[in-house]
């Protein structure tokens, strides 16, 4: 389904599409903002993956003489109170943000898909209970839920991931359930079932691939949201604990205290968060336009 729309879109634009490169060029022309977003995301992912190679210092190495050092040749973005290099910390912070984002998508996404598929397939009492559970999850603002979860589980990277993935579950489950409901009546699914395929296999082989498009859109949005919520939680002291260089934590406490003596402590991590989320949002918008034209914004 997604494929067909995509090709139709390309054909409509009259593009002469042959190679992958052409596709990329076309994408950049048709969705300039999306292309910018993609570039930002690439930089972000690159930093996260190669953090150890590209960062000039150990992000945890303290150095008395460099305390609150201003940006210069050695410390491109300055140093914090403990003399740790901000540039290296921001690069490593990308790794934390990406880890939290991707892991929360995997965790929340798979639970959501499972609940959604089973609800849409089994219906009956299982569906009823799951729907109520989802109502409950949706009635609590994301940050409130994450806050209580983080306080309950204690501050750690794993617990932050769990806390952030939970609010994703109801969104995914809703989308998957409604798609499953409409798909299960489709002729090709009926046919598969008539051919003797088990319900589970039908779900996996025929239903899942067809709901991939809305899921990808949801996941991109979640990536941005996860980065923001992780930063907010860490800012409040409930997220990723020290000494991990989380962007949100960098902005909390000591950074804000020295804000006026060393404004780089506040400016750069904030910029990093904003840029990363901005990039994901731009890219996500373009992706949605391509994959799900009905929801165009």
């Amino acid at each position: 389904m997604a494929d067909i729309d995509h090709r139709a879109e390309l054909a409509k634009a009259g593009a002469h599409v042959t190679t992958r490169w052409d596709k990329l060029v076309f994408f950049a022309r048709r969705y300039p903002l999306g292309a910018v977003g993609a570039v930002i995301m690439l930089v972000f992912v690159f930093s996260a993956v190669f953090a150890d190679v590209i960062s000039p210092h150990d992000p945890l190495q303290t150095k008395a003489s460099a305390s609150l050092a201003a940006p210069d040749g050695e410390f491109i973005l300055g140093a914090d109170m403990m003399g740790r290099d901000m540039y290296s910390r921001i690069i490593h912070g990308a790794r934390i943000s990406l880890t939290v984002g991707v892991a929360s998508i995997l965790l929340g996404g798979s639970i959501g898909v499972l609940i959604g598929l089973m609800s849409g397939y089994l219906l009956g009492w299982f569906d009823l209970i799951m729907q109520r559970l989802i109502d409950v999850m949706q009635a609590l603002p994301l940050l409130v839920l994450a806050l209580v979860m983080a306080a309950t589980l204690g501050p750690s990277l794993e617990n932050t991931i769990i806390a952030i993935s939970i609010p994703l579950v109801p969104n995914v489950a809703r989308v998957v359930r409604s798609s499953t409901l409409s798909l299960r009546e489709m002729p090709f699914v009926e046919a598969a079932r008539a051919a003797g395929m088990s319900e589970m296999r039908v779900a996996m082989r025929h239903v899942l691939p067809n709901i991939l498009a809305p899921l990808i859109v949801l996941f991109t949005a979640q990536l941005g949201a996860a980065i923001l919520v992780e930063a907010s939680l860490s800012f409040l002291g409930l997220g990723v604990p020290a000494p991990h260089p989380s962007w949100g934590r960098m902005l909390s406490e000591s950074a804000a205290e020295y804000a006026r003596v060393a404004p780089w402590l506040v400016v750069f991590p904030g910029l990093a968060i904003s840029l990363a989320v901005f990039g994901t949002n731009l890219f996500g918008d373009a992706l949605r336009d391509i994959l799900d034209p009905r929801q165009r914004s």
Binding site: T62, S67, M82, E253, E257, Y258
Partner: protein
Amino acid sequence: MKRTIFRVATAVSLVGLMLSAEAALAQKSGGVLKAYHRGTPPSGSIHEEATNSTVSPYMGVFNNLVMYRQDIAKNSMDTIVPDLAESWAWNSDGTKLTFKLRKGVKFHDGKPFTAKDVQCTWDGIQGKRKAKLRKNPRKSWYKNLESVSTNGDYEATFNLKRRQPAFIALLASGYSPVYPCHVSPKKMRTHPIGTGPFKFVSLKQNEHVKFTKNKDYWKKDRPYLDGVEWTIIKSRATRVLAFIAGKFDMTFNVDVTIPLLKEVKAKAPHAICELVTTNVSTNLIINQDAPPFDNAQIRKAMVLAIDRQAFIDILSEGQHVQGGVMMPPPSGVWGMPPEYLKTVAGYNPDVAGNRAAARKIMESQGYGPNNRLKIKVSTRNIAIYRDPAVILIDHLKEIYMDATLDTVESANWYSKVGRKDYMVGLNLTGVGVDDPDAAFYEGYSCGSQRNYTGYCKPEMEKLFEQQSMMVDQEARKKLVWKIDKMLQEDAARPMIDHRKAAQCFQPYVKGFVTHVNSVYNNWRLEDVWLDK
């Protein structure tokens, strides 16, 4: 003996009176002092808390029997002056301390103050009263107190088990107010009643604590202020910015850290800031009951790996000071002097040499570059705890130790410490009175509640008692140094540094003196006035 001390006390109080009479000419009455507070006080009951958050705002609600002079920065036996007691005297063997009490003093609810209230207060601390305190953090201070007896309404005697000349120092602390007998502990927590210069008005969580002038205060013409209002601001960044912006007359009790002090000085150059040693030390608590630190060799290696000066340079731009249990001179009265400190194992400034020795020890225990010891450093999830813990981890790398940081929420810290669920913990310890009796009995004596590591050695116990009984304070000092050195070398609770921080106030705030060896004793605020 008896007579001499009586005379000293009278002389000191006379000087105090003359001084205040002279200064009184210029003072102005009126105005409300606006200060900020770092967080909601846990309660208003000073006897139930061991935190600045309660003592600083609530000290003015109460009076003590005796107190440290508010206008002299360095607390010592010589600066103790009468408060609710008019005079005091020891019996000949130094086991009975008798106070003659002031007449005509009234509590804020109009009931008269008598010797019964003194008895009740210390009976409460000793758990002898029916109306129990919920928490009782300074029980260990009064280990040597047998009972309090009264003779009529205006004489109270503290009966000690053995001689303890420094006992009176404990009573002079801001932590030793006299409570009214007729008010329940619960009421004291929520709406405390005292005899002091300020009456409690209201507490709103995360908003403010307010106090108003006690018009019937027994000290004539005091207080000058019409009231004190503390606005609660959790974020240190926000509250210091607010002070810089001129929204407050005064900061919270030594709330300005050294890097922030630079900022205050730059942006609010007229503000008066006094940088003092706070009698709060950064130290390590080591779990000696479980591997790997049940091994004395590994403990020794860890202590050798610490570069104290690096901690001090990073955390305070070189301002914090090295020392043992007792606050180091010149601010502290009892701490080891620098040349003596150098003789303590691990305080040798040759860091590279110390670490080489530490690596040798580690190698002898089977560790090396390819077989590193994995440990956990636990600490509270608060910046002043976390930051030194991060540095510690950095230092331990040098001696084949790979440490991970385990940050613990405040809600779980003391239960975790109590369960001994840690290997090494980074801890901060504040001592209410600069006196070895307070510090040793609280932190290193068998059975004390705040002796987290459970350190308990009969030979040390004997030494604690020996110094406590000494009358000659100079000789006592020498013994205290020796004890302190032994505690450090035994890694009872290795000290990293003694912290410094600043108290800032606007230039029109007069009559406030920041004390240099305790942050808990100078918040009566009855002599403070606003020159506006």
